[in-house]
Symmetry: C2
Subunit: 210 residues, 2 copies
Amino acid sequence: MTSASPSGRRTGRPRSAEADRAILDATRAALVELGWGKLTLGDVASRAGVAKTTLYRRWAGKSELVVDAVAALFDEHLELPDRGGLQADIEGVVLQFAALLERPETKTALMAVVAESTRDDALRARIRSAIVDRQKTLVLLGRERAQARGELPHESDPGAADRNADLIFDVIAGTVLHRTLVSAESVDAEWARSFAALVVGGLASVGTLP
Amino acid sequence: MTSASPSGRRTGRPRSAEADRAILDATRAALVELGWGKLTLGDVASRAGVAKTTLYRRWAGKSELVVDAVAALFDEHLELPDRGGLQADIEGVVLQFAALLERPETKTALMAVVAESTRDDALRARIRSAIVDRQKTLVLLGRERAQARGELPHESDPGAADRNADLIFDVIAGTVLHRTLVSAESVDAEWARSFAALVVGGLASVGTLP
DNA sequence: GCTCTTTCGCTACGAGTCGTAGCGTAACTG
DNA sequence: CAGTTACGCTACGACTCGTAGCGAAAGAGC
């Protein structure tokens, strides 16, 4: 056992941060060109100018690597600018999420890793913390703003509030996902407006429930 | 060139229908035990008591085979019993779809083939006709019934009617899919009630739009 | 019955991928 | 400078892929 140290490993050659960048970039490029199915770790390694063994030292397998590569895109491109109203905020996040899902990297990768995660709890946890939870944050932020504006009531029961937030999150993320990847139709401003109107209308009626 | 005949192929040894059943059964069994990722066609063949070459004569690859194997489940387990009201009908179809998605075969297979289909138009078309379009039929049937009951207006603009049906379909199927496979939480009667209430409430407000 | 056609099970194959092991070298710490 | 860890490289057995070739089986048409 090595003695505990302030921050992680203490001695020896440090892992190259540049290699990390190169690998994740190469992964995204390979996803674009080959898609999830034909992507191989050997190919990613050679694209990144890195030995295949280096890849296996850092990631357990294809799924974990791709999750990290895609998660970086979510970090960069998801935010919730305040558009002044609940419906406009929903439209905004819908358009952002859709734009992300229409990229070839995420299109082919996201469903694939979720499919793998149905039989791999560790992978599911990784997806959750790296991608899903960050999306859900936007929903919570949107609710806060709407409550501050008086568009939504402050819920008294915290359990019900959590369940409602989860529901809205599944509705928004799930619908955009299905529209983009299953129905394979694009999300334009008009569709986003119709969908956001439906969600807001539904929220109003659910809010009046016991 | 063989002369045209009333129905497909005319001569030679016919394909064994029993082999088809055995192969699709074996595929579902292999999906349960191994999941999409570790399922191999060689394994399916030996489970079915069939030569691997027979498999390749009938299906182009793993994706096509799995689509057919899963589509059979959708055919068997999706219907729309008339529960007497729009919200109750939605609850019913949500619970049915969720029950289907909670089966280990469909859980691991559906997202995987959709992921593959993002780079394969023929596969996407197969999924659409074998699975998606049959689900969408339920939405159209539910709307008809609701209109007959007077719960929904008869839409005058057919284009807008189509767009609304597509929207509702993406909302229902997408939300249940996301709840089940991404959030990985079960769909119980209470959740179905909340979600159906949100959809019905949203429909009411969208119906009052220009 | 006989022939023709297609499918069947079986075996075998080259190509490609996987994930790991071993080795000598590079980089950083104390 | 000694200790430790990461690196690139090579090589490997195991596995899967999809296909080819063969003789036998199962119907259709005459």
